[in-house]
Symmetry: C2
Subunit: 349 residues, 2 copies
């Protein structure tokens, strides 16, 4: 008993000192985190040049769920950006018209409004530009603006709803307005109140010790060089494989990233830093979608971007931190889509 | 003036007599309708051998929306029984794994609990038996019971939810219990309060004159011989083309209906009478799904089953009546599906 008591007396001050210094360290990290990241707001801000309204959001939700925007009548925005599954499809790459495989992993639509631009290479400046892409892509929904407009004009309830969503326009049922309505809906798809948001807000108990250690590593080891802002990423472009090229399954040679857009040597294999909000819900990871666990993904990032700065335990801690980025998912009630009419172009599966 | 007044005096009693007789006639039809049909209840009754619970319904909803029940990870029950589109997919026949076309039009899941049996040929005695079909069908979700169980067991939240939905069972995560949970959810997908239900309940203004005329024709011309009960169909089997064989696109020779099940001569081209609840939302029509308007469908029924008893105006009236069968759709909030784990079998698109 006596020996144990002496030991305790000897140990306790050390532990206390460590605790004090850990708390001071936590506070410094929190201060940095507050400067570098941002909390997901309760409501998304207004989108420039696309004022929102209840009618527009309601219409956008209908369009988001309507498979008749696709040529085959089978695929909607929600097919690949499934709001029941973290806003993506949990596939390496999506399956489109005719069972074709898409070229890159479908990013989540949740909090996408906070990204600097859309798609892995940022080729769409905003969500309304993005929304027009998959509808027309031959390997995705395979439709055309003309077909979409014919479909929507043939359904009286859509014509009426476009009129209310775009008041004062002579001919509101347009492909552009389809995209604007979808953007308005998507801007509502944000996930506030993640444990990490509560931590940023001052709730020290919102992260456990492992997650705090992971945040510390995330801040001090260089992850924040690319993953910052409200979305912990999604706002800048960086080459994948700075220090070590990942294997070809993860970074296929044929997909050169932004180089295909800019034809600039420096843009070889450059991608938009992945936004990490709700990343625990959006496996598989990277644009190639070959990696299924957060631990593997963190290890690959550590090796390829930072020269292997994380050991196995630290990888697990960063993964634990990333799990604190899962927010409160929006409650989405299915829309009631109006029936097609005799004039509606028929699906061509 | 005088002439018109006289004319009026002469006409009014006739109109009044007609009105009185029309009202008496309406009352007789209503009496018959109440005997032959049934109102959709506010809540579905208990299902034999599958007691419901909140936990079971909630689990069933998750499973209904989970594409990981399919081999490719792309198709869920809701893909073909889309609750945003009247509970079906508005396609001639569904598109399944590998973009294969299904053999028959997908029936609506709405009010399916009131059918005597499931599928066009009634080969599944109830919804839990039905639910196992598409999950395993090679041209649909293309999975196996073993794969489904592996997927569900690999996701801790599912394991926990099966435990709560099937309390007291040693090993609750089974393919059978998947089907039972889906059945419990599907039993909630009913659509009360259609104009026709209000009419049956005594609200004479719930149907307009055209719809009442359509109901009268529906009752007096023989439609009710097959289309009766709560679902206005769905409870008995009849040959398609009794009096005149429809064209081969509508009744393909290769699909012999219940004959394939029973191998009985009398079952050649026998199908379950289509349940007509919400039929305005579920084009295209018939098991072959080639007919897109109610008017065409009614005309074909009149010709093939009743020897052409309806003229063009009457066809329109019956179609108007059928539009009064659209009820209040269930409000469905998307579930939050739990993320897969390192152990989850990967999609094989």
């Amino acid at each position: 008993m006596e020996t144990r008591f002496i030991l305790l007396v000897w140990v306790v001050p050390g532990v206390a000192a460590t605790l004090v210094s850990a708390r001071a360290d936590d506070a410094r990290i929190l201060q940095t985190a507050r400067a570098v990241f941002g909390r997901v707001p309760a409501q998304a801000e207004e989108i420039p040049n696309n004022p929102t309204s209840k009618d527009k959001v309601a219409l956008g939700k209908m369009l988001f769920f309507d498979p008749r925007l696709s040529k085959g009548g089978t695929l909607s925005c929600n097919s690949c950006h499934n709001l029941a599954m973290g806003g993506d499809d949990n596939l390496p790459t999506s399956v489109g018209h005719g069972w074709q495989k898409g070229p890159r992993n479908a990013p989540t639509v949740l909090n996408a409004v906070f990204n600097v631009a859309q798609f892995w290479d940022g080729r769409a400046e905003d969500l309304k530009t993005q929304a027009k892409g998959p509808v027309q892509a031959g390997v995705e929904m395979a439709s055309t603006p003309e077909r979409v407009e014919s479909v929507l004009k043939s359904i009286p309830e859509y014509a009426e709803r476009f009129g209310r969503a775009f008041p004062g326009e002579d001919s509101p049922v347009t492909f552009d307005n389809m995209a604007r309505a979808i953007e308005s809906f998507e801007a509502t798809l944000i996930t506030p109140d993640a444990p990490f948001d509560r931590y940023l807000g001052g709730d020290e108990a919102a992260l456990d010790a492992n997650q705090k250690a992971g945040l510390r590593l995330f801040v001090t080891k260089g992850c924040i060089a690319c993953h910052s802002g409200v979305n912990i990423g999604g706002r800048s472009y960086h080459p994948f494989g700075v220090l070590k090229k990942p294997t070809a399954d993860i970074l296929p040679a044929g997909d050169t990233g932004r180089f295909a857009l800019t034809n600039t040597e420096a843009d070889h294999y450059v991608f938009r830093a992945a936004p990490l909000r709700n990343v625990a819900l959006t496996a598989p990871y990277f644009h190639s979608g070959q990696i299924w666990t957060l631990e593997e993904a963190v290890k690959i990032m550590s090796d390829s971007q930072l020269g292997g700065v994380l050991d196995e335990n630290e990888v697990a801690q960063v993964a634990a931190f990333l799990r604190s980025l899962t927010g409160k998912l929006p409650e989405v009630t299915l829309p009631e889509l109006p029936a097609e009419t005799a004039e509606t172009p028929r699906p061509q599966p």
